[in-house]
Amino acid sequence: MARRGDTRRLAFLLAPASVFLGTCFIGPLAVMMLYSFLEPGLYGGVEWNFYHWNYGRILGWADGEWEEFDAVYVQIFLRSARLALTNVAITLIICYPAALWVSGLPARWRTLVVFLITLPFFVSLVVRLFAWVLILRPSGFLNSSLLGLGLISEPIDIIFTETAVLIGMAYILLPFMFLPIYASVEKLDRSLLEASADLGASPLQTFFRVTLRLTLPGIAAGAVLVFIPSLGNFIVPDILGGAKVLMIGNLVEQQFLSARNWPFGAALSVMIMIVMFAAIVLYLRAIGRQEEVSP
């Protein structure tokens, strides 16, 4: 039980964080929630009427008079989720073996590799993505190399496809998968791996029965950290996907900036938040189960 003095001191110490989060985080979120239930104004802005058709348009109860239901929104949602999950899988497959390898290096090399992993953050995201455009476009580095090597006879279409979007997203989100996995792999007690081998488990059995199980929290954290920015991402599909690969993030961007339909954009954002919230709940439950196992 905290004493009165403690409570006051705590309130004082937490005040800056509370004010910051309240004004910069919860405030805009509340505005977004509110807008999603308001009627869009004819020339942008909102009319202050309760209006549930924003959600109807997405989920299928639009009356067909004021607002049209279009299955395309759900399809874009599903495509975004699929791409985000694929991206989680790609980054996991790349990062897990890499993290295992790095954790076995001598200490100074480990520090260097972790530094190198975070190095791309020093350069603007947009600049890095345009570098990918230069690599992937028909006359780009990739195609000219493949042509030069004689592996292909004409440039392959890779820019402005899902593949290009996946390459770009995997590229920018790789560190978010690598770092949590690396943290959990590094603190893995190596004597447990020896114990497993000693008890007759082959390296593969040891991997699935011990290594993977004990690094699950790192995998779960990495998956959430990659899934959430992938789902709402609009810069990568914008630059590398062109007009062909529309993701839910682009849709929101369009509603706010081009269509000037803020309530509909807000409703889409709330839907994204619900999906992300579900992902975090799944993550916390996975962690909770792990905690039961090894608090």
């Binding site: 007690d189 004597s191 447990l192 020896e194 114990a195 497993s196 081998a197 000693d198 008890l199 007759g200 488990a201 082959s202 390296p203 059995q205 040891t206 029965r209 011990v210 199980r213 004990l214 792990q290 196992v293 090894s294 608090p295």
Partner: protein, 378 residues
């Protein structure tokens, strides 16, 4: 010196290490030789302890047997099979690790059943054997607990259960008791010994604690600087150590290097600074040797000592009551410390003496042990 080794029948040897050499690159550069030509045989149903100070190579030797270290030279054989290139999971040995290395994500039952699970043993047989093994180690009812819900002693038992359930030919124990408190350690020592006797499995036990080694082992291999100093029964190591290192490492006692003088029947050991000790016959006159006198060998002399006793004079510096015995710490004329722990009524005779006074200490001449110069471990 290696008579017992040579008499060993090839058939009964469960594990054998031949001329093992292992070098490591030292972190600060250079090479550390952890094993420098080590040979050891472990017989059936035997409890062998590898004893030595830290860095003597005992853990490396254990890891060479379990397969976690590949030897640079020499070989390991288990049940006659050469183990070179055989990975740890294919060797018929199990290890109890120093920190127990229990799987934190598995229950006690699943930890113990791990070896059977990876071997694909049928569920019913597996459960029966897990139950039996847990019962045997007083862990009945703990099957569903997690390792972190157990005390240190219980974790120790789980680690043991997890290893013995696989019925290895050889059980390797790497300082398994070092994390336990003193009382628990004592109890576990006796329990381990009894368990080994019941199971009939060979135990190879690593420790730096000489008392632990003496308590449990059938034979003790004393290691020093990557070499085996000597392998012998605990009593032999204690009363008739083969080398000075063994004499110093195991038990308390005073060592007096010198040269044999006098007659062959009643030889005397004379130190460089002139102390004279009556010793048992056996070594040629003129030879260099070191005399070992254990505290229990020394007591107060009778009124008129005869030739069967050796008598030395020393100044009493301290008397220490230890419960089971009473120790009198004395200083010889050359400054050497000699400690007497008389048995029987001997303590009463000495306890009246004031600090600083001269006392006479006697020992039986026929029980003295001389370590020949060649056996000084070099």
């Amino acid at each position: 010196m290696r008579v017992d080794e040579e008499a060993l029948d090839q058939e009964t040897s469960i594990a054998e290490v031949r001329e093992a050499v292992k070098r490591f690159a030292a972190p600060e550069g250079g090479v550390v030789t952890a094993l420098n030509g080590v040979s050891l045989k472990v017989r059936e149903r035997e409890f062998v302890t590898l004893l030595g100070p830290s860095g003597c190579g005992k853990t490396t030797l254990l890891r060479a047997i379990s397969g976690f270290e590949e030897l640079d030279a020499g070989e390991v054989r288990i049940a006659g099979e050469p183990m070179g290139g055989v990975p740890p999971h294919l060797r018929p040995v199990n290890t109890v690790f120093q920190n127990y290395a229990l799987f934190p994500h598995l229950s006690v039952g699943d930890n113990v059943g791990y070896g059977l699970d990876v071997a694909g043993v049928a569920r019913t047989e597996r459960n029966t054997r897990v139950g039996e093994t847990l019962e045997r180690l007083d862990l009945g009812g703990y099957e569903r607990r997690r390792p972190d819900q157990l005390s240190g002693g219980q974790r120790q038992r789980v680690a043991l259960a997890r290893a013995i359930i696989n019925q290895p030919k050889l059980l390797l124990l790497d300082e398994p008791l070092s994390a336990l408190d003193r009382n628990l350690r004592k109890a576990m020592q006796l329990e381990l010994k009894a368990l080994q006797h019941d199971l009939g499995i060979c135990f190879v036990f690593v420790t730096h604690d000489q008392e632990e080694a003496l308590t449990m082992s059938d034979r003790v291999a004393v290691l020093n600087g990557g070499r085996i100093e000597h392998v012998a029964a605990p009593e032999t190591h204690y009363y008739r150590p083969a080398t000075r290192f063994v004499a110093e490492f195991i038990g308390d006692g005073a060592l007096f290097p010198g040269r044999i003088e006098g007659s062959a029947e009643e030889p005397m050991l004379v130190t460089a600074d002139g102390l004279r000790f009556a010793v048992a016959p056996g070594m040629a006159v003129g030879e260099a040797a070191t005399l070992l006198l254990r505290p229990e060998q020394l007591g107060a002399p009778p009124e008129s000592p005869d030739g069967s006793l050796g008598v030395v004079e020393a100044r009493l510096e301290q008397s220490v009551f230890l419960g089971a015995s009473h120790q009198f710490v004395c200083r010889m004329a050359n400054g050497a410390i000699i400690t007497a722990a008389p048995t029987g009524g001997g303590a009463e005779k000495l306890s009246g003496v004031a600090y600083g006074e001269t006392v006479r200490l006697a020992y039986r001449r026929d029980q003295t042990h001389l370590i020949p110069e060649a056996g000084d471990g070099t």
